[in-house]
Protein backbone atom coordinates (compact mmCIF):
# COMPACT_ATOMS: atom_id res chain seq x y z
CA UNK A 1 0.00 0.00 0.00
CA UNK A 2 1.13 3.55 -0.74
CA UNK A 3 0.36 6.51 1.47
CA UNK A 4 0.79 10.00 0.09
CA UNK A 5 0.89 12.82 2.60
CA UNK A 6 -0.05 16.38 1.73
CA UNK A 7 -0.70 19.53 3.68
CA UNK A 8 -3.47 21.84 2.63
CA UNK A 9 -3.69 25.01 4.70
CA UNK A 10 -2.92 23.23 7.97
CA UNK A 11 -4.99 20.15 7.15
CA UNK A 12 -3.06 16.89 6.83
CA UNK A 13 -4.27 14.85 3.90
CA UNK A 14 -3.48 11.15 3.64
CA UNK A 15 -4.14 9.60 0.25
CA UNK A 16 -4.36 5.83 0.50
CA UNK A 17 -3.58 3.65 -2.48
CA UNK A 18 -3.92 -0.13 -2.51
CA UNK A 19 -4.99 -2.45 0.28
CA UNK A 20 -5.34 -1.61 3.96
CA UNK A 21 -5.27 -4.92 5.83
CA UNK A 22 -3.53 -6.39 8.87
CA UNK A 23 -0.32 -6.61 6.85
CA UNK A 24 -0.26 -2.91 5.88
CA UNK A 25 -2.18 -1.22 8.70
CA UNK A 26 0.86 -0.82 10.94
CA UNK A 27 2.59 1.43 8.44
CA UNK A 28 -0.53 3.57 8.20
CA UNK A 29 -0.88 3.72 12.00
CA UNK A 30 2.71 4.87 12.32
CA UNK A 31 2.28 7.68 9.77
CA UNK A 32 -0.95 8.97 11.17
CA UNK A 33 0.26 8.95 14.79
CA UNK A 34 3.50 10.61 13.77
CA UNK A 35 1.40 13.45 12.36
CA UNK A 36 -0.66 13.63 15.57
CA UNK A 37 2.53 13.68 17.66
CA UNK A 38 3.80 16.49 15.44
CA UNK A 39 0.74 18.53 16.42
CA UNK A 40 -1.60 17.90 13.52
CA UNK A 41 -5.24 18.29 14.58
CA UNK A 42 -7.17 18.31 11.35
CA UNK A 43 -6.97 15.44 8.92
CA UNK A 44 -8.58 14.13 5.78
CA UNK A 45 -8.20 10.54 4.67
CA UNK A 46 -8.70 10.22 0.92
CA UNK A 47 -10.04 6.76 0.06
CA UNK A 48 -10.29 7.32 -3.69
CA UNK A 49 -7.57 4.84 -4.63
CA UNK A 50 -8.09 2.44 -1.76
CA UNK A 51 -9.28 -0.90 -3.10
CA UNK A 52 -9.66 -2.82 0.12
CA UNK A 53 -10.04 -2.40 3.88
CA UNK A 54 -10.32 -4.95 6.68
CA UNK A 55 -11.03 -4.59 10.41
CA UNK A 56 -7.31 -3.91 10.96
CA UNK A 57 -7.70 -0.73 8.87
CA UNK A 58 -10.89 0.23 10.70
CA UNK A 59 -9.04 -0.16 13.99
CA UNK A 60 -6.42 2.43 12.98
CA UNK A 61 -9.09 4.90 11.80
CA UNK A 62 -11.01 4.46 15.07
CA UNK A 63 -7.90 4.86 17.23
CA UNK A 64 -6.79 7.98 15.35
CA UNK A 65 -10.27 9.53 15.47
CA UNK A 66 -10.37 9.03 19.24
CA UNK A 67 -6.87 10.52 19.65
CA UNK A 68 -7.80 13.57 17.55
CA UNK A 69 -11.01 14.07 19.50
CA UNK A 70 -8.99 14.28 22.72
CA UNK A 71 -6.90 17.03 21.09
CA UNK A 72 -10.08 18.76 19.94
CA UNK A 73 -9.23 18.09 16.34
CA UNK A 74 -11.09 16.07 13.75
CA UNK A 75 -10.76 13.67 10.88
CA UNK A 76 -12.91 13.44 7.77
CA UNK A 77 -13.03 10.47 5.40
CA UNK A 78 -13.80 11.07 1.74
CA UNK A 79 -14.27 9.52 -1.69
CA UNK A 80 -14.88 5.90 -0.67
CA UNK A 81 -15.61 3.20 -3.20
CA UNK A 82 -18.94 1.48 -2.58
CA UNK A 83 -17.39 -1.78 -1.35
CA UNK A 84 -15.17 0.03 1.10
CA UNK A 85 -18.09 2.07 2.38
CA UNK A 86 -20.06 -1.11 2.89
CA UNK A 87 -17.40 -2.34 5.32
CA UNK A 88 -17.82 0.82 7.44
CA UNK A 89 -21.57 0.26 7.37
CA UNK A 90 -21.47 -3.40 8.40
CA UNK A 91 -19.12 -2.43 11.23
CA UNK A 92 -21.53 0.30 12.31
CA UNK A 93 -18.73 2.88 11.98
CA UNK A 94 -20.69 5.07 9.58
CA UNK A 95 -22.84 6.18 12.52
CA UNK A 96 -20.02 8.04 14.26
CA UNK A 97 -17.32 8.63 11.62
CA UNK A 98 -17.77 11.59 9.28
CA UNK A 99 -17.76 10.12 5.77
CA UNK A 100 -18.22 12.68 3.00
CA UNK A 101 -18.50 12.41 -0.78
CA UNK A 102 -15.60 14.27 -2.32
CA UNK A 103 -12.34 15.93 -1.34
CA UNK A 104 -13.99 19.33 -1.87
CA UNK A 105 -16.72 18.39 0.61
CA UNK A 106 -14.04 17.35 3.07
CA UNK A 107 -12.05 20.58 2.69
CA UNK A 108 -15.20 22.59 3.26
CA UNK A 109 -15.80 20.65 6.47
CA UNK A 110 -13.04 22.57 8.29
Amino acid sequence: MEILEENHGGINIFKLNGRLDSNTSQGFEKKIFQAIDDGSKNMIIDFKDLDYISSAGLRVILKATKALKREEGKMLLCDMQDYVKEVFEIAGFDSFLPIVGTMDDALQGF
Binding site: D21, S55, A91, F93
Partner: protein, 150 residues
Amino acid sequence: MAKNKITFKLKNKLSELDTLCQNLERFGESIGLSPKFIFETNLALDELFTNIISYGYSDKKVHIITVEISLQNNELLFSIEDDGLPFNPTEVEEPDLGCSIEECKIGGLGIHLAKNLMDEVCYQRCKEKNILTLKKKIQESQPAKKRMKG
Protein backbone atom coordinates in the same frame (compact mmCIF):
# COMPACT_ATOMS: atom_id res chain seq x y z
CA MET B 1 -13.12 -24.81 -19.12
CA ALA B 2 -12.48 -23.20 -15.77
CA LYS B 3 -11.91 -25.49 -12.82
CA ASN B 4 -14.57 -25.32 -10.17
CA LYS B 5 -12.30 -25.94 -7.22
CA ILE B 6 -8.96 -24.71 -5.89
CA THR B 7 -6.89 -25.64 -2.88
CA PHE B 8 -3.92 -23.68 -1.61
CA LYS B 9 -1.70 -23.58 1.45
CA LEU B 10 -0.73 -20.49 3.40
CA LYS B 11 1.93 -20.03 6.05
CA ASN B 12 1.05 -18.38 9.34
CA LYS B 13 2.34 -14.92 8.47
CA LEU B 14 0.46 -11.76 7.56
CA SER B 15 2.21 -11.32 4.21
CA GLU B 16 0.31 -14.42 3.06
CA LEU B 17 -2.79 -12.21 2.84
CA ASP B 18 -1.49 -11.21 -0.60
CA THR B 19 -1.28 -14.87 -1.66
CA LEU B 20 -4.82 -15.39 -0.38
CA CYS B 21 -6.04 -12.40 -2.38
CA GLN B 22 -4.23 -13.44 -5.58
CA ASN B 23 -5.53 -17.01 -5.46
CA LEU B 24 -9.05 -15.87 -4.75
CA GLU B 25 -9.02 -13.24 -7.50
CA ARG B 26 -7.66 -15.63 -10.09
CA PHE B 27 -10.22 -18.29 -9.21
CA GLY B 28 -13.09 -15.81 -8.89
CA GLU B 29 -12.37 -14.23 -12.25
CA SER B 30 -12.05 -17.62 -13.94
CA ILE B 31 -15.58 -18.55 -12.86
CA GLY B 32 -16.97 -15.08 -13.59
CA LEU B 33 -17.59 -13.71 -10.10
CA SER B 34 -18.24 -9.98 -9.79
CA PRO B 35 -15.57 -7.72 -8.22
CA LYS B 36 -17.98 -7.01 -5.35
CA PHE B 37 -18.42 -10.72 -4.65
CA ILE B 38 -14.66 -11.27 -4.73
CA PHE B 39 -14.13 -8.28 -2.42
CA GLU B 40 -16.62 -9.55 0.16
CA THR B 41 -15.25 -13.08 0.03
CA ASN B 42 -11.70 -11.79 0.33
CA LEU B 43 -12.62 -9.78 3.41
CA ALA B 44 -14.33 -12.69 5.17
CA LEU B 45 -11.40 -15.05 4.50
CA ASP B 46 -8.88 -12.34 5.47
CA GLU B 47 -10.55 -11.78 8.85
CA LEU B 48 -10.70 -15.47 9.69
CA PHE B 49 -7.14 -16.09 8.49
CA THR B 50 -5.77 -13.05 10.35
CA ASN B 51 -7.52 -14.27 13.48
CA ILE B 52 -5.98 -17.73 13.18
CA ILE B 53 -2.44 -16.49 12.77
CA SER B 54 -2.78 -13.76 15.41
CA TYR B 55 -4.22 -15.96 18.18
CA GLY B 56 -3.99 -19.55 17.04
CA TYR B 57 -0.38 -20.40 17.82
CA SER B 58 1.56 -20.34 21.04
CA ASP B 59 4.89 -21.34 19.44
CA LYS B 60 7.06 -19.55 16.90
CA LYS B 61 7.05 -22.36 14.36
CA VAL B 62 5.84 -22.21 10.80
CA HIS B 63 2.33 -23.62 10.43
CA ILE B 64 0.29 -24.31 7.36
CA ILE B 65 -3.30 -23.20 6.88
CA THR B 66 -5.13 -24.96 4.07
CA VAL B 67 -7.84 -23.15 2.14
CA GLU B 68 -10.21 -24.83 -0.28
CA ILE B 69 -12.74 -23.01 -2.43
CA SER B 70 -15.26 -24.71 -4.64
CA LEU B 71 -18.23 -23.79 -6.76
CA GLN B 72 -21.25 -26.02 -6.29
CA ASN B 73 -24.51 -25.17 -8.03
CA ASN B 74 -25.04 -21.54 -7.23
CA GLU B 75 -22.93 -21.42 -4.09
CA LEU B 76 -19.33 -20.89 -3.25
CA LEU B 77 -18.08 -23.22 -0.50
CA PHE B 78 -14.95 -22.60 1.53
CA SER B 79 -12.99 -24.55 4.05
CA ILE B 80 -10.14 -23.23 6.18
CA GLU B 81 -8.16 -25.77 8.14
CA ASP B 82 -5.48 -24.99 10.74
CA ASP B 83 -3.57 -26.88 13.42
CA GLY B 84 -3.74 -24.05 15.95
CA LEU B 85 -5.27 -23.87 19.41
CA PRO B 86 -8.96 -24.81 19.52
CA PHE B 87 -11.00 -21.74 18.67
CA ASN B 88 -14.60 -21.43 17.58
CA PRO B 89 -15.22 -18.01 15.99
CA THR B 90 -18.96 -18.65 15.75
CA GLU B 91 -19.13 -18.41 19.56
CA VAL B 92 -17.47 -15.00 19.74
CA GLU B 93 -19.78 -12.37 21.18
CA GLU B 94 -21.18 -9.87 18.68
CA PRO B 95 -19.79 -6.36 19.08
CA ASP B 96 -22.15 -3.61 20.23
CA LEU B 97 -22.73 -1.73 16.99
CA GLY B 98 -24.99 0.94 18.38
CA CYS B 99 -22.31 2.34 20.67
CA SER B 100 -20.80 5.82 20.60
CA ILE B 101 -17.25 6.40 19.44
CA GLU B 102 -15.94 6.51 23.01
CA GLU B 103 -17.44 3.13 23.85
CA CYS B 104 -16.68 1.50 20.53
CA LYS B 105 -14.29 -1.41 20.81
CA ILE B 106 -12.66 -3.20 17.96
CA GLY B 107 -12.67 -6.73 19.42
CA GLY B 108 -14.83 -9.23 17.59
CA LEU B 109 -15.29 -6.90 14.67
CA GLY B 110 -13.38 -9.02 12.16
CA ILE B 111 -15.51 -12.06 12.93
CA HIS B 112 -18.65 -9.92 12.79
CA LEU B 113 -17.64 -8.81 9.28
CA ALA B 114 -16.92 -12.39 8.18
CA LYS B 115 -20.28 -13.65 9.48
CA ASN B 116 -22.11 -10.82 7.76
CA LEU B 117 -20.43 -11.34 4.42
CA MET B 118 -21.02 -15.10 4.36
CA ASP B 119 -24.36 -16.90 4.38
CA GLU B 120 -23.08 -19.62 6.67
CA VAL B 121 -20.09 -20.08 8.97
CA CYS B 122 -19.65 -23.46 10.70
CA TYR B 123 -16.93 -24.69 13.01
CA GLN B 124 -15.65 -28.17 13.78
CA ARG B 125 -12.72 -29.42 15.83
CA CYS B 126 -11.49 -32.63 14.31
CA LYS B 127 -8.20 -34.54 14.70
CA GLU B 128 -6.43 -31.65 16.48
CA LYS B 129 -7.53 -29.25 13.74
CA ASN B 130 -9.90 -26.32 13.50
CA ILE B 131 -12.06 -26.61 10.43
CA LEU B 132 -14.18 -23.70 9.30
CA THR B 133 -16.67 -24.24 6.52
CA LEU B 134 -18.32 -21.26 4.91
CA LYS B 135 -20.96 -20.75 2.27
CA LYS B 136 -21.89 -17.81 0.14
CA LYS B 137 -24.67 -17.77 -2.41
CA ILE B 138 -23.97 -16.28 -5.80
CA GLN B 139 -26.69 -13.82 -6.76
CA GLU B 140 -28.53 -14.46 -10.02
CA SER B 141 -27.08 -11.34 -11.60
CA GLN B 142 -23.65 -12.96 -11.47
CA PRO B 143 -23.43 -15.44 -14.33
CA ALA B 144 -20.80 -17.68 -12.80
CA LYS B 145 -21.94 -20.90 -14.41
CA LYS B 146 -22.61 -19.44 -17.83
CA ARG B 147 -19.09 -18.15 -18.22
CA MET B 148 -17.66 -21.48 -17.16
CA LYS B 149 -19.29 -23.17 -20.09
CA GLY B 150 -18.00 -20.55 -22.53
